[in-house]
Subunit: 456 residues, 2 copies
């Protein structure tokens, strides 16, 4: 048994040279995107070329190429913060008194504070290469907006970020940091777009939603010269870029003769979960290994655990293509007192398909108060203040480790610590003061949204 | 020439086994501390034992032992976040177009967000070992308070933090994070101490100062059972613990056959600067090398560059020992619009002595607007949002790199990037909006404080 350090910091030669596209190894592929005007499958990258950069549109539709080269310019940027450390949670294990071995892949050691930078850099690079000079996007909790503003500052691209109004108001510092990197931040819904004006007319008091901000960003991109839209989660291209998380984690574990029995990721749009599990899922799809995969959601936005597997729009304003995915309905908006991200109504079509077909073993949801309780146990033991999103995975990892303690099993658990919580102190404060509330949608509410899903 | 990576991440075997005590190699030692009641030199650790833990008091007075073993329990904690990376600023070099090679030792990749954790862990450990159950301290910008709260959570020690009232009000999230790690935060001056009540009576509207918060923390420690006081900068013991910064940086550079021509650190109380330069200063004291050392201060609190080298109290309330140091006077309080830390009236006695004797080559000060300008250039190039404190060193490094460009010299520059600016977004926002002001004390103001220095 090799002596395993606290932090496995691979040297930069270990930065992967290729992303891994899990769809290539799926016998049953995810269903195709549908054109929102014709309701017919989108099969050619050019059909998405008005919204996305062409190379990214190609990646979006490619379900046959297993390994895709990472351009050297992107690897160059990755060198500034990657490989991200894989950490053995010795202190957490000790505090829990568990025989389980807990590892986490920590993606928060960069200024964006999360894994989002992995795809932001890739998307900004392809835009630059295509001669695009402006990008638009949306951001909820603010991690994606920050990541993209950093990537755009690096490549010299103008950026407009539609920020969910609730976050814009509650997280002024997130806005400030995005502005510091030179991007423009607009609270969404705004009166800058047709879809924003329409939503404001219908719901003048709304605190906004990711789905709504996506609609505004897409509309702006389509109507602005030399401009494209980029998205930080849900899409196949994003899951592809995020596969670097899992590839690095797997390599680091292999160097110490380790392989996870249980792999846990928090799931909002599915980019982190999808990226983390991808290379391990390959082993499972090939029948070589059978790790147990757990997706963890907030109880206030449980798309995988309580949604329908159906075609739905990716945005509230219905300007995007439709995807077959687990969805709560494109008009669903999680309770305003839900802290942090993981507030998207749908789920990555690829993650959805893997769950539907039983390769992704389990989806579970937790209330946010129990998630913050786990976050504080973790912070005190490990010395890292986790993001609320990541803390969903922490809660599941702690629960699994305690099960191991009860059963006397020394399973190996790997989870994704996607980011840090430095911009979420308001939520921590309300938890510490005992004023944080849990809001779980009831079945009748979900039924109403379900009844409004497009009939396809 | 070896191929130098962006980030030199040493493995945990490289965590130093000993701290380096630069005073042991100084022919002329810093002047002794004076007992505030007798005004006589303090020579025995026991004389400080009512305020400090005994082992820390020993370290404070020891100016003969060059290398002091780091206890295994402290190295165990260091493993969770050390060795800290040494980063080659390739991107900043490119943006500046300089032939200089720029390196920075990055101490911000931990939740405390700065180098302060290095000494916090050591001090909490020695307290625990002595059976102390409570600690008090002060914090200004909040980095030290956060670091100590993390260390106390790890070792299970109660902590009360007196937080400079201005920061307490302006940085609620810093307070929240300290509370999340289980410590109690009190705005200073408070009515919990005699000295606090006195200061409040004299200046009811004061936003507080570090010197005042120190007085309150010391008074509380002395009057509380089984309680000691700990300090995050200025002291010899802190500089000793922080020598780990310089030792790691030197080791990492040596592995790539590098040695700095210029070494730059920001200076408030001197802990980071002193720690970074210590092992390089050893080479200079021994006549083996002659790197050029630059201390960088804010123009609003220029103790080294404009203060007097004199005996002064370490706190506003005059309850602490006196130290011979560069000081602006113990009642000096920097302008309320000064952002970030580096707001202490004095300077580490050891750093002061090295500067006075010419081993520390230069002290310079910058206005905060030019510091934030440098911070943003750095952030956009390097992808790390720096703390305002660290940005003073960045500004000097950029200036030196531009001098190299003009002269066509490829000097090697090393600076300390002490931390991240995630809790300083208000200051960044005011800089971005153009509302940030520079406040530089005029000579007549400094003369008044100088005239009040103790006559010794």
């Amino acid at each position: 048994m090799k002596n395993i350090p606290y932090r496995i910091n691979l040297s930069e030669e270990y930065i992967p040279k290729q992303w891994y596209n899990v769809r290539a190894d799926m016998k049953e592929k995810p269903e195709p995107l549908l054109n929102p005007e014709t309701m017919k499958p989108i099969t050619k990258p050019e059909e998405l070329g008005g919204i996305f950069c062409l190379e990214l549109a190609r990646q979006e539709l490619d379900d046959t190429t297993a390994f895709i080269d990472i351009p050297e310019e992107i690897r160059e940027y990755y060198r500034t913060c990657r490989p991200a450390p894989l950490i053995r949670a010795y202190n957490l294990e000790r505090v829990l008194g568990t025989p389980a071995k807990i590892y986490y892949k920590f993606e928060g050691n960069n200024t964006s504070g999360s894994h989002k930078l992995n795809s932001a850099v890739a998307q900004a690079y392809y835009a630059k290469k295509q001669g695009i000079t402006r990008l638009t996007t949306e951001t909820g909790a603010g991690q994606w907006g920050t990541a993209l503003s950093m990537a755009c500052a690096y490549f010299g691209i103008d950026l407009t970020v539609f920020m969910v109004k609730g976050s814009f108001t509650q997280k002024p510092f997130r806005r400030n940091i995005i502005e510091t990197f030179g991007a423009k931040v607009v609270p969404s819904p705004s009166d800058l777009t047709e879809v924003g004006r329409k939503i404001l007319a219908e719901m003048p008091e709304t605190s906004g939603s990711l789905g709504c901000a996506i609609s505004e960003a897409v509309e702006t991109a389509v109507n602005t010269e030399n401009c494209r839209y980029v998205l930080g989660s849900v899409l196949n291209q994003v899951m592809l870029h995020q596969s670097i998380i899992g590839i690095e984690a797997k390599t680091a574990m292999e160097l110490y003769d380790e392989y996870p029995d249980i792999i846990i990721g928090c799931a909002g749009g599915g980019s982190n979960l999808g990226g983390l599990i991808s290379p391990f899922m390959r082993d499972k799809l090939k029948g070589e290994k059978s790790p147990y995969f757990i997706a963890v959601e907030p109880a206030s936005c449980p798309s995988l655990s309580r949604g329908s597997y159906a075609y739905d729009f990716c945005d509230t304003g219905h300007v995007t293509p439709l995807a077959k995915m687990y969805t709560l309905g494109s008009k669903f908006i999680p309770s305003a007192n839900h802290a942090g991200g993981l507030r998207y109504h749908g789920m990555s079509p690829t993650v959805s398909k893997l769950y539907h077909d039983g390769f992704l073993d389990e989806a579970r949801s937790y209330k946010q108060t129990e998630v913050f309780e786990a976050a504080e146990i973790f912070a005190k033991a490990e010395g890292i203040l986790p993001a609320p999103e990541s803390s969903h995975a922490i809660k599941a990892a702690i629960d699994e480790a305690l099960k191991c303690k009860e059963a006397g099993e020394d399973k190996t658990i790997l989870f994704g610590l996607t980011g840090t919580g430095y911009f979420d102190m308001k939520a921590y404060d309300s938890f510490n003061k005992g004023t944080m509330e849990d809001n779980i949608p009831d079945d009748s509410e979900l039924k109403i949204y379900e009844s409004k899903l497009p009939r396809i």
